[in-house]
C-alpha cells in the first residue's frame, strides 16, 4: 500500500464512521429529500466523495498538465489566461442579405467568430425552387443556392481575419468550395482561411437527419475533404465531430462521449484506408458537444472526453503529433433544455450550462437565447445570450486559473466514471463491426431513443423537476416578442435564383457538372471539380443531384 493509499484509506474509514454514526442518527429524524440522488444522466450520486489515491499516485497518467498528454486539464497551457474561448453565435435566416446584417451586428456586439446556420434545403442539397424545399426556404437558417448568395452572405466580412464555422454536413464539400471561392474574390488565398465545417455525416444518420447520400459515398466525400484541405486549406477544421445532436436527441452524457468518439474512430479509419497519414489530418479534427444543466457532470464530461480521445489517438492509431491527440471542441448550451413556459428562466439555464462549458475548457461557445423553444431568436435575446458569455469571461473569475475544478473529489470521480462508461460504449460499437454497421443495425438510434424515453418519463412522473414545466408553474401566458422570418423570403430567394440561372454561362455549368459526375464515378478527389462548378455558379441543388445520380439517395428505414 502506497503512502497515499494509506492516507486515503484513513479518510474512507472516517467517512464510513461518519455515515454509520452522526449521519444515520440524523437520517432517522430527518430523512433526505429523496432515497436516491441522480445526475441529469441518471448517474447515482453519493452523499459525500472522498479522495482517491490514484489522483495523486497516477497523477501524470490521469491528469497531467494543461497542454500536455492526456490533456485532461485542457488543451492549452494557459487556457483563458491567454485568450478567452471564441464567442460564436450560430445564426442565419431568410436570405443572404438579412443574415449578413445579423453577422455584422453580432461582430459589432463583440462576437469573435461567425457561425452560419443554413436552411434545410441547403443542408440537404435542394435548390430553393425544388418541390422538396416547399415551406422550408430560409426558415431554420439562410438559403444558399449559388455562389452569388455566398458572396452576399460574406459581404464586408474579412475572411482572412474572421473564422467561420459552417453547420453543413451532407453538402459540406459544396459550401466549403463556395467559401473558398468567396475568399478568392476577396483576395484571400485558401491557405489563409480559418474556420470549421461540421462535415459529420454519421451523426446525421444517428440523430440530426440532414443526410442525402448513403454512408459509403458520404464517407468518401469526407475523406476527399480531409485530403484536399490538408494540402490547400491547412487552417480549416475539416470536421466537427458532434455529440451535440446525439445529446439533443436524448442520449446521456456518457453516450454523448461514447458515440461521438466512436464516430471519430470511423472517420480516422476511413481516412487511413484512403491512404492518409494520421498526423497529417488528425490535427484538424475538431469536436462539438452540448452543455446541459448538471454543472459538475457536464464539466467532468469534457475532461473525460479529452482524456479518452488522447488515449485512443495515441494507442489505437499511433498518432504522435500532440495536436493529433488534443480534443478541441465547440460547445452549445442544450437547446432541448429550453422551455416554452416562463422563457426568462432559460437565461438562467443557459448561464449554468455556459459555465459548465467554460469550467470544462471549451474552445468556443454558443449560448442559446431564451426564446428558442418557440422560434429563432430575436436580436435582443441573442444579445443577452452573448452578454452571458461575456459576463462569465470578465466577471465570474472562473477564467483566472486553468481547470479550476481539478482535484474536486466529486468531479474527478465523475470524470473517471464517465470515461469508463464511454469507453464501454465504444467497445459495444466495435463489437458490432464499427459505427456504420451499428447505425445500419439501428443500435445507436435505439439506445438514444431509450435514454430519451427514460428522461421524458422522469419528467412526466415528476421524479425530475423542470422549473416552470412540472413545478412552480404559473397561469399567465408568456408575453414575448418572437422573431419571424419575413414572408417575402421565399419569393425574393426564387427571384435571385432565377436571375443567376439566366445570367451564367450555361455551357460552362454543364461542363463543370459533367466533370463532377465523372469524378464521382471514378475515385479522384471531388473537391477540385466541385470548386470549378461552384465558380461557374452551378447551384447546390445541381451539384448534389449530380452526385446523387451516381451515389444514390439515403432514406431512413422505420419499423
Amino acid at each position: 500500500m502506497s503512502a497515499t493509499e494509506e492516507q486515503v484509506d484513513h479518510i474512507k474509514q472516517a467517512v464510513e464512521r461518519w455515515n454509520a454514526g452522526p449521519v444515520a442518527k440524523l437520517l432517522a429524524k430527518f430523512p433526505e429529500q429523496r432515497a436516491k440522488f441522480v445526475t441529469a444522466s441518471d448517474r447515482q450520486v453519493e452523499r459525500l466523495y472522498a479522495p482517491e489515491a490514484a489522483t495523486i499516485d497516477r497523477y501524470a497518467e490521469k491528469l497531467g498538465l494543461p497542454g500536455e498528454y492526456p490533456f485532461t486539464r485542457g488543451v492549452q497551457p494557459t487556457m483563458y489566461r491567454g485568450r478567452f474561448w471564441t464567442m460564436r453565435q450560430y445564426a442565419g435566416f431568410a436570405t443572404a442579405e438579412e443574415s449578413n446584417q445579423r453577422y455584422r451586428y453580432l461582430l459589432e456586439q463583440g462576437t469573435t467568430g461567425l457561425s452560419v446556420a443554413f436552411d434545410l434545403p441547403t443542408q440537404i442539397g435542394y435548390d430553393s425552387d425544388d418541390p422538396m424545399a416547399a415551406g422550408e426556404v430560409g426558415k431554420v437558417g439562410v438559403a444558399i443556392d449559388s455562389l452569388a448568395d455566398m458572396e452576399t452572405l460574406l459581404d464586408g466580412i474579412p475572411l482572412d481575419r474572421i473564422s467561420t464555422s459552417m453547420t453543413i454536413n451532407a453538402t459540406a464539400a459544396v459550401l466549403l468550395a463556395m467559401y473558398i471561392a468567396v475568399g478568392e474574390k476577396q483576395g484571400v488565398p485558401p491557405e489563409k482561411l480559418n474556420g470549421t465545417i461540421q462535415n459529420d455525416i454519421l451523426k446525421e444518420y444517428i440523430a440530426r437527419g440532414t443526410y442525402r447520400f448513403p454512408p459509403g459515398p458520404s464517407l468518401r466525400l469526407i475523406s476527399d475533404i480531409f485530403a484536399y484541405c490538408t494540402e490547400k486549406v491547412p487552417n480549416f477544421n475539416t470536421i466537427s465531430i458532434s455529440g451535440y445532436h446525439i445529446r439533443e436527441a436524448g442520449s446521456t452524457a456518457a453516450q454523448e462521449i461514447g458515440f461521438t468518439l466512436a464516430d471519430a474512430i470511423c472517420y480516422v479509419d476511413t481516412a487511413l484506408q484512403a491512404g492518409l497519414k494520421v498526423d497529417d489530418f488528425a490535427p484538424r479534427l475538431a469536436f462539438f458537444f452540448a452543455a446541459h444543466s448538471d454543472l459538475f457532470e457536464e464539466a467532468a464530461k469534457f475532461r473525460a472526453a479529452r482524456r479518452l480521445y488522447a488515449r485512443i489517438m495515441k494507442e489505437r492509431f499511433g498518432a504522435v503529433n500532440p495536436k493529433s491527440l488534443m480534443l478541441r471542441f465547440h460547445t452549445q448550451t442544450g437547446g432541448v433544455t429550453l422551455t416554452a413556459q416562463q422563457p426568462d428562466n432559460n437565461v438562467v439555464r443557459v448561464t449554468i450550462q455556459a459555465l459548465a462549458a467554460v469550467l470544462g475548457g471549451t474552445q468556443s461557445l454558443h449560448t442559446n437565447s431564451k426564446d428558442e423553444a418557440m422560434a429563432l431568436p430575436t436580436e435582443e435575446s441573442v444579445t443577452v445570450a452573448l452578454r452571458t458569455q461575456q459576463l462569465i469571461a470578465y466577471e465570474s473569475g472562473v477564467t483566472n486559473t486553468v481547470d479550476p475544478l481539478a482535484g474536486s473529489f466529486y468531479v474527478e470521480k465523475l470524470t473517471d466514471d464517465l470515461e469508463v462508461e464511454a469507453e464501454g460504449i465504444i467497445k459495444l460499437i466495435d463489437a458490432r463491426g464499427g459505427m456504420v454497421a451499428a447505425i445500419e443495425q439501428g443500435f445507436v438510434q435505439k439506445q438514444i431513443e431509450e435514454s430519451a424515453y427514460r428522461y421524458g418519463q422522469s419528467i412526466d412522473n415528476g421524479e425530475r423537476v423542470i422549473v416552470g414545466v412540472n413545478k412552480f408553474t404559473g397561469d399567465e401566458p408568456p408575453t414575448i416578442n418572437l422573431f419571424e422570418v419575413p414572408e417575402s423570403t421565399t419569393q425574393r430567394q426564387l427571384d435571385k435564383l432565377r436571375g443567376v440561372r439566366a445570367s451564367r454561362d450555361v455551357a460552362r455549368v454543364e461542363a463543370a457538372l459533367a466533370a463532377v459526375k465523372q469524378a464521382a464515378v471514378g475515385s479522384e478527389n471531388l473537391m477540385p471539380p466541385i470548386l470549378a462548378a461552384v465558380r461557374a455558379y452551378a447551384t447546390v441543388g445541381e451539384i448534389c443531384s449530380t452526385l446523387a445520380g451516381v451515389f444514390g439517395e439515403f432514406s431512413e428505414s422505420t419499423n
Partner: protein, 137 residues
C-alpha cells in the same frame, strides 16, 4: 377505455426537419396509453403521410415539426386529406410552434397543438377527447 378498442394513430414528420425526439416520445406515450401507433420516420412529404394514413385507416395523424414550416406543411396535409375524402381523420400537431400560429392552425382544422413541455398525460387526454368527440359527431 379498453386498450383493445383504441384506434390507430399515425405520427408523421413532414418536410425536411430531422428532429424526431418529440415525435418518437409522443409515439411511445400513445403506445403506452394503448393506441396502436405508426411512425413514418423523418423527411416524409405530405403526400406520403396522407397515403399512409389512408392505407392504414388511422383515426388521427400527429404531425411534428421544429423547422418553422408548419403553416405550409400542415396546410398541405389538411388539403390532401380533404381531396382524398378523409376529412374524418383528426389532425394534431406539435413542435416549436410560436403561440401566435396556434389559432391559425386551429382555424385550418388542426384539432390540437402541443408545444414543448406539454405533459404526456395531457397529450393522451386531449387525443382521447378529440377522438371521442369526433366519433360522436
Amino acid at each position: 377505455m379498453n386498450a383493445a378498442v383504441k384506434p390507430r394513430i399515425l405520427i408523421g414528420k413532414p418536410g425536411l426537419d430531422g428532429h424526431d425526439r418529440g415525435a418518437k416520445y409522443v409515439a411511445q406515450i400513445l403506445r403506452d396509453a394503448g393506441f396502436e401507433v405508426i411512425y413514418t420516420g423523418i423527411r416524409r412529404s405530405p403526400e406520403q403521410i396522407v397515403d399512409t394514413a389512408v392505407q392504414e385507416d388511422v383515426a388521427a395523424i400527429g404531425l411534428s415539426l421544429l423547422s418553422g414550416a408548419h403553416l405550409a406543411l400542415f396546410t398541405r396535409v389538411l388539403e390532401l386529406l380533404h381531396d382524398r375524402g378523409a376529412d374524418d381523420i383528426v389532425v394534431f400537431g406539435g413542435g416549436t410552434i410560436p403561440p401566435k400560429d396556434i389559432p391559425r392552425l386551429k382555424e385550418m382544422g388542426v384539432a390540437e397543438v402541443f408545444t414543448p413541455g406539454t405533459p404526456a398525460r395531457q397529450i393522451v387526454a386531449a387525443i382521447d377527447d378529440c377522438l371521442l368527440h369526433h366519433s360522436v359527431m
